[in-house]
Symmetry: C2
Subunit: 122 residues, 2 copies
């Protein structure tokens, strides 16, 4: 049986691999109804979300997942929380947190809600 954690593992691996190699391709993971809140700014619909990702002012980015937790939110949706570190253009890694609400659409899942924050110490 496929558990929420299995689905989340597979999704998160694909998501960050795509983010780190070809950000424009993240569009396939969102829909018109999706929202991204990135460092407090909210973008809605695939084209606005992708435009935000592709306009981020760095060339190289590498995500390293530290923790990944998942729960079923309904029979056809999941909540996924990730904590990790990301390194931009070779600078020292920064801690981040990201929360995804994934909805099932046929045999796959897309991102309905996405909330991202760097965790800079106080």
């Amino acid at each position: 049986m496929t558990t929420p954690q299995d689905i989340a593992n597979q999704f998160v691996q694909f998501y960050y691999n795509t983010f780190d190699t070809n950000r424009a391709a993240l569009g396939s993971l969102y829909r018109e109804s999706s929202s991204l809140t990135w460092e407090g700014r909210t973008f809605s619909a695939t084209n606005n979300i992708v435009e935000h990702f592709t306009s981020l002012p760095f060339e190289k980015v590498a995500h390293q997942v530290t923790t990944l937790d998942a729960q079923a939110a309904s029979p056809a949706s999941l909540i996924v929380m990730v904590t990790g570190a990301l390194a931009i253009d070779g600078a020292p890694p920064m801690q981040y947190s990201q929360c995804f609400h994934l909805l099932q659409d046929g045999g796959s899942f897309y991102v309905f809600n996405d909330l991202f924050r760097l965790n800079l110490s106080g």
Copy 2:
């Protein structure tokens, strides 16, 4: 109009105030269908969640919210992500992240999914 951010602000303030003053009273915010994943361990149903909170091995705890983001997940539910710091028994604060999926029940919201992690560097 009440926004998801307004509801989230009010919820989060009440949640951490209750956590920091009387953890046993957090039970009123969960239901039998709720789940908490706390540092990778999952507890389901109000009594198990409250038992976990009340068995945490510290006397004094103080949460300080750094960021709070919210999005509607449906007409009657919200995703809330918090980053912040918590101080236990007067020790130096530790960074944490917490993600809530809140469901509306009449005029109020309860916690359906709750995922908590400390963000320890490196």
